[in-house]
Symmetry: C2
Subunit: 342 residues, 2 copies
């Protein structure tokens, strides 16, 4: 992307988003709805979203929080091995994907999967493949923090082989090992966050410790970031933007024992634009990364929204209603100039 004063993005999609619930949902949902056409909304509430009623009720709460913005929350269920075909068929029209968490691996994932026995998972995953419901996966083992994702690649491979018709989305990938796996299996796809394109562990713990850059999976090595960046800048058809924007109240991030998650929803498009420009990547690749690829992978029709960004300093607020964003207090190169609906 050459240096430019203004760029236009069509129907930006955030394919991995945490909107939480209650007051937090009320406070932050608009920050995504303002600039994104739609988003895949994660189901890790307490308790996790796992019934048709819970999905539809949560969607209603989201729409109420979003207000008048044009925005579609693509709903997800929290994967349970016990889901059967009848249940999945009954809920198919209410959801866009199902999210699988290994047990205890991140915020509110205690009820997740603790073994990855193919035969135990077969009824649910066969039914999902048949109904064309993608499986989104938080791919980390319980191993050493820098190895968890790389260790999980063998589980991705096992699932991808055993369920070749199931679309498997490797969520928020952070390693070269995951990038390499994408090429080996036709049915593996991935989301990549903006923060994992920008930071490594050095930014989290190389100077002072930076709680607002602490997330799961943790940011990895420079060569990992390079591998992710190469895929995103190329607009590689198997990768999609998913912010994993994960709000926590300021006190939970800056406390001793800080919660995992980076809040990027309100600055993601500005950062992506700056990143693609800096790396001279074509605008069409950014468009593919932030919308086109996801539309093809998920076979979804998305609400129209046109976002115009201009090269004008944007001063990132210290917080959005008590949630501290990435780069709080710093200045970004691009601002949102205008959002056109319809």
């Amino acid at each position: 992307m050459p240096s430019t004063n203004q760029i236009t993005l069509n129907a930006p999609l955030d394919m991995h988003l945490h909107l939480r619930d209650g007051e937090m949902l009320e406070n932050i949902a608009k920050e995504s709805a303002r600039t994104f056409s739609a988003a895949i909304v994660m189901p890790n509430l307490v308790p996790p979203v796992s019934t048709k009623e819970e999905v539809t009720a949560y969607k209603t709460r989201i729409m109420n929080a979003v207000g008048s913005e044009t925005f579609t929350p693509y709903m997800t269920l929290f994967f349970k091995p016990g889901y059967d075909k009848a249940f999945l068929a009954s809920v198919k029209d209410d959801i866009t994907a199902i999210k699988l968490y290994p047990a205890g691996i991140t915020t509110n994932s205690e009820g997740g999967v603790s073994g990855f026995d193919v035969e135990e998972l077969r009824p649910a995953l066969d039914a999902m493949a048949e109904l064309d419901i993608p499986l989104c996966v938080h791919g980390e083992t319980n191993g050493f923090v820098m190895d968890r994702e790389a260790e999980f690649v063998s589980i991705y491979e096992k699932l991808a082989s055993a369920f070749p018709k199931l679309k498997i989305i490797m969520e928020h990938i952070t390693t070269k090992a995951s990038v390499d796996a994408l090429d080996r299996f036709e049915n593996l796809y991935a989301t990549i966050t903006i923060h994992h394109l920008l930071i490594t562990l050095d930014d989290v713990a190389g100077g002072m410790l930076q709680p607002h850059l602490f997330c799961k999976p943790i940011a990895k090595r420079p060569e990992d970031r390079e591998a992710l960046l190469k895929m995103a800048l190329a607009g590689h058809p198997k990768v999609m933007f998913g912010s994993d924007s994960a709000p926590h109240p300021k006190h939970a991030k800056e406390a001793c024992g800080c919660a995992a998650g980076v809040f990027t929803a309100p600055i993601a498009l500005q950062l992506l634009t700056e990143l693609f420009e800096k790396n001279s990547a074509p605008l069409e690749n950014l468009q593919a990364f932030v919308s086109g690829n996801a539309q093809k992978i998920y076979t979804i029709k998305v609400p129209q929204k046109t976002v115009i960004l201009e090269k004008k300093a944007f001063h990132v607020p210290a917080d959005y209603k008590g949630v501290v964003p990435m780069y709080a207090g710093e200045t970004l190169a691009y601002s949102i100039k205008e959002v056109r609906h319809g």
Copy 2:
């Protein structure tokens, strides 16, 4: 070390200690002086301790803060390439070692060495070798946080080769790469902290982010910790205990952008005793690790002090005058029963 109700340590030494200055020094010096016979005191004040007058004045301030405890602060200078033989000879009796910091690598190290040109360093290091002043080194490059120490090993090797009569202490080593280097050069030695024997990066950033376990060098991988533990438990003659106990006020540790350092001075001996017992290591190895090896390496005579620890729960305070220790609020297996002087 078999399970035991009581053990006795003779003249425990902390071969790497930060005592700071002013109010902090007043507040925490006694925590070391109570149970240690002596300690190598780091010179990274603001400005760094780099003249005879500064060394003697700092020593006086330390002795005043220590009060009536029997305790010897082994003083150090902040290494500068410009130190010449006349200066070093004049200050030799006031110091026990000289500490080299690469520039900007940790707390108050801005004035450190930024290149490692052997010929530039030769006058100072030749003089130190001749005067038998050990060189203590914070061995990290400016590279990726998990690689900094391993990358520095080649600099250790260059210095050890170029100055074979200089005693070089690899301070607070955290990697298998450093352990391996110890065997390759007769004049390389090392200190190891208690926290690097106990934790890995998993403990800092594998669950919630733990600012009180954040230090430089950062805790590394499980196989690194294993390599360190093997050396310590064996009482290997080239390794010495050095706590790197580094107090920061609570607000500086729990703030956004937390300072590096773990405060272990008041609990180090209890933790070491528990660790050696758990691993069934002989008491004589603990004695070697915590005193005997350092006496031989530094050829020092140390003040007598006998510390008796008993197997009795010790509840770690939430803070020591505003400084949060490692394991604050937790319970350790051993307590200090008695300290005998003379």
